[in-house]
Amino acid sequence: MLNLSEKDKQILAIGLTAAAIFVILGVFVFSYSMETLDVQAEELGAQESSVYQAPFPDYMIPDFENEVGSILLGILSTLAIFGVALGVGALLKKSKFSE
């Protein structure tokens, strides 16, 4: 499906490895999240009122909430997003959206 040169395959491998490292860092070292918006919401006592229950809330697999599960989920979802973006890109390549 992808017609890539050796150099392009190399850059793809480096990029996906970097993504996997980000996932591991995100799970093991930099997992605590308290953004400015969260602080403001906490000060106000504002509550989220979700209209939809996501299958993997807070980037965790329900009933399997540990580092291994989160890394697995992170890497699989990174690959899934890679696949979706490739699919959207391929559709856009031959799309008839343009006149």
């Binding site: 992808l2 392009d8 980000f22 504002a46 209209v51 997003i81 696949g83 973006a85 856009l92």
Partner: protein
């Protein structure tokens, strides 16, 4: 910066979705049928890379944390429209799979991070390049990424501030709080974006020759001529 459900008023939800739909229509029309074959894997890679990068929450000031957005890099490397579509993919999947950002706030989140955070830096670098003819490029990339990040945060603050009484803080509190903290984040975003663009320019300038923003640079042009 992902706004959850329940923080925005109905008028803000409607306005932000309307702007986002208009952007998507323009972006699909501009990119559709014109996306270069070599840009497809690059789009896939950068989308996956910045999705993963957004999982890293690093500490900033006052006990708060932040993560990279990647909007500036997507806009500068892929172009503003393909970059906007790429960031949209990240935000849609984050909302549907992980509940990161609300579905009712998806229009606002795409407007802030996928339009403002992507298009503004891309246009800034394009303008700086035209004026300076590529001189000091990485400084301009840094400034553009910084501005894109801070502006995206200001937009989020404005949307929240205008959503009273749903979100009780007005513009006078929501906007400065978002802008100040995101100035720190903007510096980091600027450094990372400049390092990424600089590395590609040095090591693989040919990857950038399909970028509507950078294709005119001498190093990128030279790599294209060499290839031909």
């Amino acid at each position: 910066m992902h706004i959850p459900d329940g923080f925005l008023s109905l008028p803000i939800i409607i306005i932000t979705f309307a702007i986002t739909f208009i952007f998507w229509a323009i972006a699909f029309k501009r990119v559709g049928g014109k996306l270069d074959e070599r840009k497809v894997p690059l789009m896939g890679l950068l989308t996956a890379l910045f999705f993963a990068a957004q999982m890293v929450n690093y500490p900033i000031i006052g006990g708060t944390t932040a993560h990279l957005l990647g909007g500036a890099a997507l806009g500068i490397i892929l172009g503003p429209f393909a970059g906007g579509i790429s960031m949209t993919i990240i935000l849609v999947l984050q909302a549907f799979l992980f509940g990161d950002g609300g579905l009712t706030a998806l229009g606002a989140n795409v407007l802030n991070m996928g339009i403002i955070g992507v298009v503004i830096p891309a246009l800034l670098v394009l303008t700086f390049n035209k004026i300076t003819k590529g001189k000091g490029l990485l400084i301009w990339v840094f400034i553009a990424a910084f501005v894109g990040d801070v502006l995206a945060a200001i937009f989020a603050g404005v949307e929240l501030g205008l959503s009273q009484p749903v979100f009780q803080y007005g513009l006078n509190i929501a906007v400065p709080a978002m802008a100040i903290n995101h100035s720190v984040i903007g510096v980091i975003e600027g450094v990372v974006t400049a390092v990424l663009v600089g590395s590609l320019l040095k090591l693989r300038p040919d990857v950038l020759n399909k970028s509507s923003i950078l294709k005119g640079l001498p190093a990128v042009k030279a790599s294209q001529e060499k290839k031909e």
